[in-house]
Amino acid sequence: MKKIFEVALGIVTSVGGFLEIGSIATAAQAGASFGFQLGWSVVLGTVCIAFLVEMSGRFSAVSKHTIPDAMRERFGVNLFALPLLVMLAVSLLVLAAEIGGVAVAIEMATGISFPIWALPVALLAWVLLWKTTFSFIENGISLLGLVTLAFAVGVAKLHPSYVAIVRGFVPTLPHHDKAHYWFIAVSVLGASISPYLYYFYSSGAIEEKWDESYVGINRAIAAIGMGFGGFLSVAVLVLAAMLFHPRGISVDHYQQLPELLSGVFHRTGFWLVIASLAIACIGATLEIALSLAYLVAQGFGWNWGEDLEPKDDARFALTYTILIFAASLFSLIGVDPLKLTEISMSLTAASLPLGTFPFLILMNDREYLGEHTNGHLGNAVVLVISALSAVLAVVSIPLELVGGG
């Protein structure tokens, strides 16, 4: 009974925690510019992150190691340093984008421009981390995150052609704006396959003392939770494809996002989008800050844990403190959160193999996993999708920057 409850809770938190600034913004851009055609990028990204999350939960449940812990142990500090530094740099930008997302949501609610909100948002995120526990963050914020289900309801009310949506799940070549098409595809992939998500999940499995008996539960949570999360991203894409694409509107500002639901729910829709954006982004802010602090603390063998008091893990607590306030500086000086999102999501895609390849090596190591090592399917899916994302990113980022297409 306890485990059924845990599965339900795990699924709810994955669904509530799936959408964040990256997936909302990139899915909306994909739908607005290319209709249903880029649906495949959401599907590919979701399949890949579902596999990665399943692997990281299994890895920690069986080996009792977190991923950074095992990376340092297996590959030594010299090889560990590269993914560590790249991930810190890229995730700091993602963190900045999430803080910007909350600030923009408050701007739309109050009319006061977003740079003013950068520090208050950072302070709120910091107080939540400083004062609360892991389960409060995971369960509380993710439950609130279920407001993002409004996007799915919105789609249902528009009565789209479901056949046309599913047709978009098959990759096709672009008819126009080729460079932009691939750039958006890469951003969607980067937004779905967030490395912080599976690092966070692996630390969570250790904090909640999972053991081998959780392998099955973990699989259910990863598949259903990530599946529903991807379904919500598709919902955002479909809304943008139906409301923006026919009118030739591209998503260039966050201020356009409320239109995704205001057409269906009117004034309530406006507030639903703002609530979704604010909650999803504050949730992601907390997860990313924690995830990076875990990464550093585990890599150097410090005491860590969101359930410890800050005085018992001072270095860990100060690491997330510094990261949050450093990331808030981007919004404070007025860097456009949408631009920041695009850049950070495409850089995430470009750097994916740096994290996933060493992780795959660990997932095939019998010393850590015994009989629970990866099957061929899992290896192939993560290998191919992360390599594909990186190659597409390396090719399309320069093209997008020079404005080709």
Partner: protein
């Protein structure tokens, strides 16, 4: 049981006698003995050792600054090999890390920053 120094000891988690995570095994020190094979003498836990694995100059620079912080600083912390045993995924030492400089930064940050923040 066979123990491979680089694969199974270097970079492993160290846990102290009170169960706290006390850094990682950043280096292994062998003792050379006349007419007999070398043996493992100590493991080192220190940013100095860690940095010297990238670049000795960084390590010297760090050590020079660390030395100013008090007696016994400026050199890597050494734990005798005989005080360690394998325990689960980590190495456990029968020493309280507070009696070594391993928690020096942690303690400094707690006293000077964390405890001065309301709610810390």
């Amino acid at each position: 049981m066979k123990l491979d120094l680089v694969a199974d000891v270097l970079d492993e988690q160290l846990v102290d006698s009170k169960g706290r995570q006390a850094g990682r095994i950043d280096g292994i020190v062998l003792e050379l003995r006349d007419g007999r094979p070398p043996r493992v003498g100590y493991v080192e836990v220190s940013p100095i050792t860690l940095l010297s694995r990238f670049n000795r100059r960084f390590a010297h620079w760090y050590a020079r600054h660390d030395r100013k912080l008090g007696e016994g600083r400026g050199v890597p912390t050494r734990i005798p090999w005989t005080r360690l045993r394998r325990e689960g995924p980590s190495f456990a030492m029968d020493i309280d890390a507070e009696s070594t400089p391993i928690f020096a930064l942690e303690d400094w940050l707690r006293r000077h920053i964390v405890e001065r923040i309301p709610g810390g």
